[in-house]
Each structure stands twice: as structure tokens, then as C-alpha cells.
Amino acid sequence: MKKYSTPLIDELEKGPWPSFVTEMKKAGKNNEMANDAVGHLEKCYSTKMGYWKHGGIVGVLGYGGGVIGRYSEIGNEFPGAAHFHTVRINQPSGFFYTSKALKEICDIWDKYGSGLTNMHGSTGDLVLLGTKTDALEAIFAEYSSRGWDLGSSGSALRTPSCCIGPGRCEWSNYDTLGLTYALTQEFQDEMHRPSFSYKFKIKSSGCACDCVASLARADMSIIGTWKGDILIDQAEVQNYAKNGMDINEEIVGMCPTQCMSYDGKAMKINNAECSRCMHCIAKMTKALRPSGERGATICIGSKAPIVVGSLLSWVVVPFIKLEPPYTELKELIRNMWDWWDENGKPRERIGEVIEVKGMRSFLEAIGVEPVPQQIKEPRKDPFMFYTEGDIASYKAKEAEEKKTGKYKF
């Protein structure tokens, strides 16, 4: 194997943080592809530019995604990196593994690819970096026969992912791991055979802490919440105070709705005014916990800046119960896709289509009523679409008022 001189990236083997260059070299010791990827990267550092081409269309029979073609512009110089495709393996919910399963994944990858991975990619997949087109069918047969399927890519439902949820968190308001598994199984066709206008991401967080950053980067953000009171263990409240917490400053004073008080002896919460932001619960986890009905808020539309600016997801369904087999949610998702399919242009995310067509069109299509929980504030301009139906219903309300002699605003 060719030994590359890599003075620039060698600099990135120094210092305390674990080095990706060391990892690449480790893989490159016995693997020509990884070795050439090391030389390829040194070249990028020396010229300050990348050399990868746009993805080519490669994949496995019957699937339209899950593999991202990657070729180098300078493959002659680095033949091992000339073809360097990515294989996305659908991760288990919550990124839980056993050593036995992971070692099996490694053995197969060493046999057919570069030995380089991302644990994990941004979307959530276990990413295998660098293989050749003629190895793809074998890779797929080896993994799928052992229970591992490909994740998604392209204009499709992207591999759903979630926070650790009830696996190790006291704040989870629904089974994020179970829901993610159920939705992934339900929508295999939508994941593996891209048929959408563009990508669609679903990310599930168990509470408003949002540990998968769902609200910022998922077309559908499923954020756990509850409807009951926050239960207070007053003895534990006292323990926090004893251990140095300034409860009035750190908790009561930072409550966004000012719905709580503490007089040095007992904490009180006016639960009706609580917005369930999680600040007090997260800081006093031994003393405070949610109770009552559990479920989630469904928010729609977030994405990164391309094309006309970033979006955060908007509240669409303020509360939905999430229990197996999740029939209501699955139906809601399908209704959203139908509307998106009818109204979206190629490469338009669902949030962008909502901006173009209006939230009303979207809500009506999916059968969700308008409620103030969906907005920060009402519209500021007086330009409205009044349909014949709108005016008829306002007139009917007035006729009713005349009959009863009582106004209904």
C-alpha cells in the first residue's frame, strides 16, 4: 500500500480531543480504501478545497435510497477513494447496541468497505463510509440476512430517530423508542422508495428538553407533554434548598409563566397557568414530576436555511395521545403527505408548502381545528380570505344571536 506523507492532517493528531485522523489512519493500516482516503484528505487540506463529486445514482435492487453514491474528481491519484459510497444502516431506536451485534456489523464492513463509520450520521443512521458499487448487493445481503436494513436517503421519509425516552429518562411522556420503531416499520415503503417532493424527517422527543433537536430539524417534530399537575415532594424541595439551591432565584424567578411560589417552607404551583416548559422539573428532578394524561404536541415544518431561510416547527396538534398501535398518528401522517403531494413542487419541504399555501389549507386538509395554541399571536394585517362558507357561518351565528337575544363572540 502507498504510504502518504500527511504533514497537515498530522497536526490534527495532536491535542487531547480524540482525533478523526488517527481513526482514518487506524482503518487505513490494513485497508487500501481508507489509506487512500487519508491521502485524499491531506490533498484537501493542502489546496483548501474538496474533491468529491455530486452523488451518483447507486443502490441495491428494489430500493431507491439508503446508499449515497460518492466519487472523487481525483480518483486517478487515489484509486482506493475513487468510488467511496456511503451505506446508511437503520439504527436501533435510542442507539442501543450489544457488543455482539456491533462486532458483527464491523466484521461485515471490514470485509466489503473502508472500515470507516460515523456513529452516527446527523439523521440518525449508522453510517458506513466508503465502498464500491459492486460490493453493494453483497453488503445488503450480509446485513439484511442478519436483521439489519438500510436507512433512507433522497426524497423520501428519512430514517426516523428519537431521544432515549423511557429507556433511561424520568421525563419521557410517551414511548419514544417504541413509537420510532413502529413508525419505521409502518413506513418502510416510503423510506426505501423515494416518492415525495423532497425529504421528510420525523424526530421524537419525550419532553420539551428535546434531546434530538426535533423542533429545529424535523418536518414532523413529536414533543412529549402532559395535561395533569406537577406533583411536588415538599421534603425533596427542602433538600434542594438545604443543598444550596436558591429556589426563589433559580426556579420561581425563572419560571416563564410565574405560576409558582416558594415561601421557604413549601412550594406551590398554579398548574392551570403552567406552560410545561420543563425548567423547574429539569432542575429539581427529585422534587417535581408531571402527572396525569400523557401524550405529545405535534409540530410541523422545521428545516435548515435552504432555500428561503430556516424554519422551526410550528405547533399543529397541541395534544395527541400516543399509544400502540398509534393509528391516529399514522393516519395524520398519511393525510399530511397527501396534501404535501398535491401542493408541493419538487424540492419543497412541507414547511415551505405551508408558507406558500397557508396554514389554513394545511389544517383543513388534515382535519385539525384552529386553536390559539397554534400561534404566538394572531395576524397583524387585515387581508384575509373570506370564503362564502366563512361569511355564511358568521351570518348564521348572528341569526342565532337574534333568536336567543344573546351575543356569542
Binding site: 480531543w17 441495491v60 462486532k103 439484511s144 432542575k283
Partner: protein, 356 residues
């Protein structure tokens, strides 16, 4: 040897088979948790069962050898159970307290770095960069390594007013939640793309290319059977390049990075926020990006010195005002921080009540 029979649309394996017994037993019945050190925490179930977690840094781009090492450690101390986090850390799940200290000792001996839990800096969410992406203006992994070498104390021991989330995007496509991070780097192009007209007509779809431009800078060029770009309107987003390879936008001397601050995704106390632009341009300086690293470290230190307990970067800035952020950090305020794209109406000030 013959290949095994392939299966399609089986989906991922059910996660339940990978859960340690203590998690299966206490699933959905956790009572509370405590952060013991920046690298360890314990979760306690209503049953009284305990689960210790030891979090370890990873560069995300890892070799199978390193994954096997993770596995060996998990076999020795955790019954073979481990997991990864959304921020690319590795977590060893310990159900027997007597394995906790030996595990930590073993990790230290092997050179693994424990940390990232609680009010400090965890691992950095980032993109592929030059390692593996066609549209990268910089190398994300190299920037992350350079940043974290410098910020290591905040991962391992030093504490901040709240957690501080860092991210790096190697272009404005921003794979990952870069646009809602406490401090993030986004790499930018700064030159109008060039077009290879000969290849354009064979490789690109005219309406798609015109439609890809957010500022309508692209119009047809019938003479060349191609398109032309109005230089006055181009904001260098690179979306035309994404849909049409013969359009080239990368330029080694002009590509650079910008720094955005004040974003968050959680709803604790205040609503989720986008990160906002404070430093519009720093030259690409591989392999160590010294100016970018210094700028980030400086912002971290000013935040650490000035924010109140539990305030995230964006909450601290909202309390003191952006004019105060710029004066405290000494960062030069430029035209680039005034939005002239889609958010102008929301971001200009409409009151004479501000600070000097």
C-alpha cells in the same frame, strides 16, 4: 462462499433486544437522576434499581477497530451493553456499582475522555466536510477537533452557567441542527458561481436551476442553452450548484466561515431560538483554524463571566441586549448582521429604548 439470502423492508432490529436487563425492568419507571461528575450520572428507578452511565467523547468518524474496543470495554464492565448519543458520544451502561470505578480506570488507561454531561460543553454536532462531502467549504471534523482541543476543560471538568451546545456545518445546507446552537460555525462561499455552459445543457434542468435560487438571480441564457447569474443578486448559497454540477462555486481563497450564536432547541424557560450571525467571515485556515477557535473560545469565556446561572447563551443575550453582547465581546458589528434576506421585518429594532 455463497451470499446469504437478502431480505427487504425488514426495518431496523427491535431495540428491545439490545436493552440491558436493568433498563428492561425499569422501562418508563425511572424516578430521578443525578449528575455525579461531568462524565458520569446515575438514574434511579421507582424500584430502587440504579443505572450508572459513563459518557465518553468520540470524533464521530471512527474505525471499526475503535468500535470493537468500545465493545470489549462494554463486555468487561457492562454485560456487553452500550449506546451512542445524538451528539456522537459513547455511553457505557453499568448496572453493577462495583464495575463503575474499574470501568473509569480502564477508560482513562486507554486514553478515552469522559465528560459532556450537565453544565459544560458536550460533543459537537457536525457535518462531513472535506472527508466525504461534495459541497463542503471547509472541513468540519478538523474544525471540531481544533475547537475541542481548546475547549477540553469544559468537556471534562470546568462548569458553565448552563450547557453550551456547539455545532459545525461545512456549508449552508447545514445537515444537523446547526442553526439552533449556542455557538455554531457555518462555512460560507463568497463568490458568484461560474458555469460550464457546455456541460450545463447535458446535465441540468433549466427550470430546476432557475427555481433553486432564493434571490431569483438566475435567468435563462438562450444563446448558450444555459443560464446566467445576476452578480448583484447572488448571495452565494450554492443551491444552484446542488442541483446542477456544472455550476461551480467553491474557491479555496474565498471560502470561509461565519459564526452564529444564541440558538437553542429546548423550550425550558424561553422558546427555541435560531442562532444569529455575529462574525460574518473568517478565512479558512486548515489544519487548525486558529482565528475561528480563538473567537469561539472568547465568546464562551464572555458568556461564562457574565451569564446568570441556568441562562443559555441566547437567554443571556436576550436579557442584556444584542448591543451589549457586541460591546462585551468587542466583536465588530457589521452590515452582515443586519438581515437583508427573509427575516428583516422580525429583526430590526422598532423602539428607541436600547442601551449605549
Amino acid at each position: 462462499m455463497a451470499l446469504p439470502q437478502r431480505k427487504t423492508d425488514i426495518g431496523p432490529p427491535n431495540f428491545e433486544q439490545f436493552l440491558p436487563p436493568v433498563i428492561k425492568k425499569n422501562y418508563g419507571k425511572w424516578k430521578y437522576h443525578e449528575v455525579l461528575t461531568p462524565g458520569t450520572m446515575v438514574h434511579v428507578g421507582e424500584s430502587g434499581d440504579k443505572l450508572w452511565t459513563v459518557r465518553v467523547a468520540s470524533p464521530r468518524l471512527i474505525s471499526t477497530d475503535t468500535i470493537r474496543e468500545h465493545c470489549d470495554i462494554a463486555e468487561k464492565f457492562c454485560g456487553g451493553h452500550l449506546r451512542y448519543t445524538t451528539r456522537n458520544n459513547v455511553e457505557f451502561l453499568v448496572s453493577d456499582e462495583k464495575n463503575l470505578e474499574p470501568l473509569k480506570k480502564d477508560l482513562t488507561a486507554r486514553g478515552f475522555k469522559m465528560g459532556g454531561i450537565g453544565y459544560g460543553i458536550s460533543n459537537v454536532v457536525h457535518t462531513q466536510g472535506w472527508v466525504h462531502c461534495h459541497s463542503a467549504c471547509t472541513d468540519a471534523s478538523g474544525l471540531v477537533k481544533s475547537m475541542m482541543d481548546e475547549l477540553m476543560p469544559y468537556f471534562e471538568s470546568k462548569r458553565l452557567p448552563n450547557k453550551l451546545r456547539l455545532a459545525v456545518a461545512c456549508c449552508v445546507n447545514m445537515c444537523g441542527a446547526v442553526h439552533c446552537s449556542d455557538i455554531a460555525v457555518v462555512a460560507v462561499h463568497t463568490k458568484v458561481p461560474t458555469i460550464n455552459h457546455e456541460n450545463f445543457k447535458n446535465m441540468c434542468e433549466l427550470p430546476t436551476v432557475i427555481g433553486s435560487c432564493p434571490t431569483r438571480a438566475i435567468s435563462p441564457d438562450p444563446a448558450n442553452k444555459s443560464v446566467k447569474i445576476n452578480a448583484d443578486k447572488c448571495m452565494f448559497c450554492g443551491n444552484c450548484f446542488t442541483v446542477c454540477p456544472p455550476i461551480s462555486i467553491k474557491d479555496p481563497e474565498r471560502d470561509g466561515i461565519a459564526i452564529v450564536v444564541g440558538g437553542k432547541v429546548s423550550s425550558l424557560r424561553t422558546n427555541p431560538k435560531f442562532s444569529k450571525l455575529v462574525i460574518p467571515y473568517i478565512s479558512n485556515e486548515p489544519p487548525r483554524w486558529p482565528k475561528a477557535v480563538a473567537a469561539i473560545k472568547h465568546i464562551v469565556e464572555v458568556y461564562a463571566a457574565n451569564a446568570r446561572k441556568h441562562e443559555r447563551v441566547g437567554e443571556w443575550i436576550e436579557r442584556i441586549g444584542w448591543e451589549r453582547f457586541f460591546s462585551l465581546t468587542g466583536i465588530e458589528f457589521t452590515f452582515h448582521s443586519i438581515d437583508d434576506f427573509t427575516f428583516m421585518r422580525d429583526t430590526l429594532r422598532t423602539s428607541p429604548a436600547f442601551k449605549w
